[in-house]
Subunit: 381 residues, 2 copies
């Protein structure tokens, strides 16, 4: 049996060992409906409220509250489609290389007749704060700029962007999709961030839970309608297991994870890659513009999907882009970044977790080198 | 320590012991993103597809497909808000005592300017098929009648209702909220049911997973927008653990559960209750109109919530109505059923699971009798 090296942590992550205990406790004594009136159920509601407190602390909330959803996509949909006060001539501003759950929500608003300005990113996926501010008008209801780009690992300075947005139009709501950033990139000042949306399964917790952090004064309305759970903001019986696991994972990142480790993994990987001929780094070069855990490279002269499968045969798992768009091809983001056809064809994403080792990353880089050389021979024949 | 008798299975259920194995298998080897391109991820997608097959078989699908959501509420919202072809003068028909996730969706459409006819139920929550058919017009886009009422256990003849709706207007879509019925009430003919929505956690699986069964020709569009998972009908990374547990629970109900057992529990309970003075059964008397697992009684002269807490002290867990509306009071359903103030005040819901025993049910009935007598003394002082 070959060893398996999982380097697709931006797609999803292996659940923490620690979550088994939460499962056992949930199945034994926290499965009751948190809305029921007897004490063993109200205890579950208390656990859910405590989980909110943990997540808001890790986020660094300043006057924020939290409600749980089923995923990052639902969180972003809720904020974009229900997070602005309804008025005529509403206008929206959105980043040019956002996750589909954000982009599709704005396209829905566009189809409903609202104006949406998509602010282009640079070639690495970074959005200019000034360009965002320039796009804001007095009619702008909501601005959405992702914190970390899921394809390139570009890190946007959302604190600065939010401040510029508010300076231009204090009534515009500011949202950031924090799915790839939460627990990995720390914010100093969240006071201008009205909405921040996150997902559990990127943090070694389970699929099926997301959250919205929101400031108290926002005009937010619920997207999922029904029994009025989550203080009326999200109906549906809460996914207690997913929620408690999410908070446990956030706490794990807060207390057990050395963020420096993933930085070292990235450095080693990029260093090894610099020895491979014709490899272009698509992620931002400047450290301030890039997260540590996502690297996108283009192996020129090679088809990324073929490379993915040859690496798979060697036990190394990477992706050609976000899993969400894997079945649609990667044309959307390649176009947004302005990649050449060759750059786009050879692009692969490698994404690290605190559990990856230096040796795994070296092995993966060597396998990329080896397989690229073989594939290029075939391509050039 | 007192014994605990859980009789609030319509609110939620204890996870099956069998699901521990699924958790272990998921955490070890089925946590990968089902949209990723390598084999260990496509295997997860295959497991999800198999789960759909299991659920559709248990449902008795006739040309139906399935996609997963995060809960019954999201399922119903999706169907009601995205399941009809957009046209002018659209009209909708809805049952008079539906779950809030259905009712609130129709109120949303009403606020958006569409016509909605609410068809009143009888005093036990049963909807007349003829009354539904009478409400259907040539502009009716969608009709929604729940299969089993979550408050009274009333069972609607949705096969007949769907047939009458289609006879009146073949273009009207028919939806039934099957959350309380799925795996408990069997359907012979599902061919006229365009949409049937279900939830895992009422079946001893986990909170956080629902599904929509839909006929292939429907005009359904996605409600959660994004990466296009679930064949474009529901974005967001699938909750694999929840999905596999849901299918396992449905299979458990199919193969291991004797539906006769819950019938006997209900009979015993009602028989015991008939000996308690001034108890009125709010559930339908006629067996054809009632499911076996939900009974609603009014203990006249007693406050239901007080009774709930005195029973809790004896280790017996029941509810005063659905957990979703427990915090809003029960005025909505009491009004829909036309209950008197005294009937509404004394109403409590007892809901059984295949794991409850005859002895538990007898004990609960005796506790109701005992506590009602004590409480009535206080009330009459």
């Amino acid at each position: 049996m070959i060893r398996e090296i999982y380097l697709d942590n931006a797609a999803t992550t292996r659940p923490l060992e620690e979550l088994k205990e939460i499962y056992t406790a949930y199945a034994a004594d926290a499965w009751q409906n948190p809305s029921a009136l007897y004490a063993c159920a109200t205890r579950v509601q208390k656990q859910i409220d405590d989980a909110k407190g943990t997540l808001l602390r890790v986020f660094g909330g300043q006057g924020h509250k939290c409600f749980f959803t089923s995923c990052g996509s639902e969180s972003a949909n809720t904020v974009i489609l229900r997070g602005a006060k309804q008025k005529k001539n509403m206008h929206y501003v959105c980043g040019g290389a956002e996750h589909p759950c954000v982009e599709e929500s704005f396209k829905f608003l566009q189809n409903a007749g609202y104006g949406v300005t998509f602010v282009p990113t640079n070639k690495n996926g970074v959005v200019s704060p000034e360009a965002v501010a320039n796009a804001v008008t007095e009619d702008t209801a909501l601005v959405s700029i992702m914190h970390v780009n899921n394809e390139t690992g570009a890190k946007n300075d959302i604190e600065r962007i939010a401040a510029l947005v508010k300076a231009k139009n204090p009534h515009a709501m500011f949202h950031s999709d924090g799915v790839q950033a939460f627990c990995k990139e720390r914010l100093q000042n969240t006071s201008n961030i009205d909405y921040y949306t996150v997902s559990a399964h990127k943090l070694h917790a389970h699929k099926g839970t997301g959250a919205v952090f929101y400031k108290d004064h926002t005009p937010l309305k619920p997207y999922i309608l029904g029994g009025g759970q989550e203080n009326g903001l999200r109906s549906g019986t809460q996914n207690t297991l997913g929620i408690l696991s999410f908070a446990a994972a956030a706490e794990y990142f807060e207390t057990m994870v050395d963020p420096g480790h993933v930085h070292i993994l990235k450095e080693i990987f990029l260093n090894e890659c610099s020895n491979i001929p014709d490899v272009e780094v698509l992620s931002p070069e400047n450290e301030a513009d890039a997260c540590a855990h996502i690297v996108n490279i283009s192996v020129l002269g090679v088809n990324g999907e073929t490379l993915l499968h040859t690496l798979e045969a060697a036990g190394v798992y990477i992706s050609t882009g976000s899993a969400c768009s894997s079945k649609k091809g990667k044309s959307r983001i390649a176009a947004a970044l302005g990649l050449s056809q060759e750059e786009a064809a050879g692009a692969v994403r490698i994404s690290f977790s605190p559990f990856n080792t230096e040796e795994e990353v070296r092995f993966a880089a060597r396998e990329i080198e080896k397989n690229a050389a073989v594939l290029r021979k075939f391509m050039r024949k």
